[in-house]
Amino acid sequence: MSAVLDTHGKAHDGHGDHDDHGHHTPTGFMRWVTTTNHKDIGTMYLWFSFAMFLFGGVMAMVIRAELFQPGMQIVTPEFFNSMTTYHGLIMVFGAIMPAFVGFANWQIPMMIGAPDMAFPRMNNWSFWLLPPAAILLVASFLVPGGGAGVGWTMYAPLTTQMGPGMDLTIFAVHILGMSSIMGSINIITTILNLRAPGMTLMKMPLFVWTWLITAYLLVASMPVLAGAVTMTLTDRHFGTSFFNAAGGGDPVLYQHIFWFFGHPEVYIIAIPAFGVISQVIPAFSRKPLFGYASMVYATSSIAILSFMVWAHHMYVVGMPVAGQLYFMYATMLIAVPTGVKVFNWVATMWKGSLTFETPMLFALGFLFLFTLGGFTGLVLAMTVVDVQLQDTYYVVAHFHYVMVAGALFSAYAGVYFWFPKWTGKMYDETLGKWHFWLSIIFFNLTFFVQHFLGLAGMPRRIPDYSLQFAEFNQISSIGAFGFGISQLLFLYIIIKAIRSGEKAPQLPWDGADTLEWTHLPTPAPYHTFENPPTVK
């Protein structure tokens, strides 16, 4: 099918500008169901991820409301467990990953001068697999036994003992994995085969580079997760004993397989965020990115190293000291390429003509807070320290600094940055700045105190806590409610801009110099680069 469409698209080049393909004549809902246009699909990805973000956010609010005071107030412990589980699963697989795939869909063809993705029909499938997965996740709350309360890591043996909600979750993970793999194959093929003439690999915008690397990570690691949950499924229903000690299996094996996927997954989330930041910071510094080649190599090193450090998530399972030492040093090694990137971003700003519009503010927020999250990551990399901090709120604080202030803030930076290009409208700059400042203040209020809770020994994923943790938890909950409400402001900003935003100028950001800004009108028309540009 893709072959037909590609041939069609190419044939179209020769004929010029008429725009009447059979495949986008449906209107209304069916237009979105049947669309193969990368911009439509990118838009759907972004809206889907934002809907999932709000859904997972409501779960975070339930968690923080329960933790507002010691003792059990609002929910049962079982429900609390499923809240932490689905909050994690939905935010990782439903919100952050689809958001960056949405960026990839919108931006990669426009940034490399391609007319569309390589496999437009498969692209449509990649997106439309997501809603059924989301429905399965929601449906798991409705089956007997309720949602799976096993944590987003889905560790055996808890998973092998859960009710049927676990099966629905496993199928949802399977579907999400298929969607990611299809999306990644599409992205790799697009980047490798559909670049405009003259767009060599080392001339690609860094966002495209980061997605190329991320897509390879996805193709290599998502199937491993699929394998892990498949083993869980067969352990549950088909009498195998991969993780069942009574049958000769080993629950620790699950952790190894899961984290072999899980650590690359962390970079699958972080690396496209690096890509967005690498576009935004040069644009608002009015300088080219400092150390472009070193950025490419650093990102590649991070990706390769990510497959070699998985067991730092499981120092306490009882591994030999030699293993702990290896994983400790290998993990610390990742700080080197990450440091290269951070210093390159800072050097890009050095002596630049900086302005601080909302995308730049979010990029700077990212830079500051992601680095902080990286430092706590180094602390956790040390085996002796991690033995104390394993499964405490210190870990929760650490990964929210890199996931929320890292990935989410960079996604916001990207949305504000490309919004004019996508819609031809400008968002309200004042409200955008409000969104940033409210987000960053409430974010720190929520998560900075969790470092102290973790150091004092408060365990994660527990609905109750002892009295000495009460004040910090109260502060954290207040911060979380504030953060949650601030994100509704983002929804308002976007809807307001789409409905009544001012018309965007052709080049709203002086320093933006990639193809979508220099070669395309604003807003980008439905079909772009049917005749590929020549890149010098």
Partner: protein, 183 residues
Amino acid sequence: MSTADSIVSANRLLLRKLLVVSVLMFGFAFALVPFYEKICEVAGLRDIFRSDEVAAKNTQVDMSRSVAVEFDSNTQRLAWTFRPLASGLAAHPGAVMHVEYEVRNTLDRPVTGQAVPSYGPQLAGQYFRKLECFCFQQQTLAPGEVRRMPVVFVIDPNLPKDIGTITLSYTFFEVAGTQKRPG
């Protein structure tokens, strides 16, 4: 059209290669199962008896010398007869040794006593490791009761070379306040 065709076939080729990679990685998850078994075997992670073996190896019995251990017994204002079954033995440092004492309550009432050890020379005390001893608890004997009680000990191999003989002496005291007074 020929360039378009070549791009299409290049795309399909890449699609197939990447699909093969994902299928292989799915298989890799399952390949980790025997790999993990092997790692556990090599690293000895599954060998739950191993820690005992290590402990046993660490108890190095120094066969190059033996130390004479003499047993002595006394009572302090207590009408018990108290004696070791053997007056002495020769022990290699590091070896686990076992001796018994016998005590008889000659009174017509139950008596609770506590044995207190002392060592000669005094320095030897810190190298004399008792694993089991009747002196760890108070002993209560019924009127006329006879009891045999064990002492299990190891002499630390770090015992200074110039100590050739250790005297272990126990003294039994009656524990005050346990005697039932008439009335």
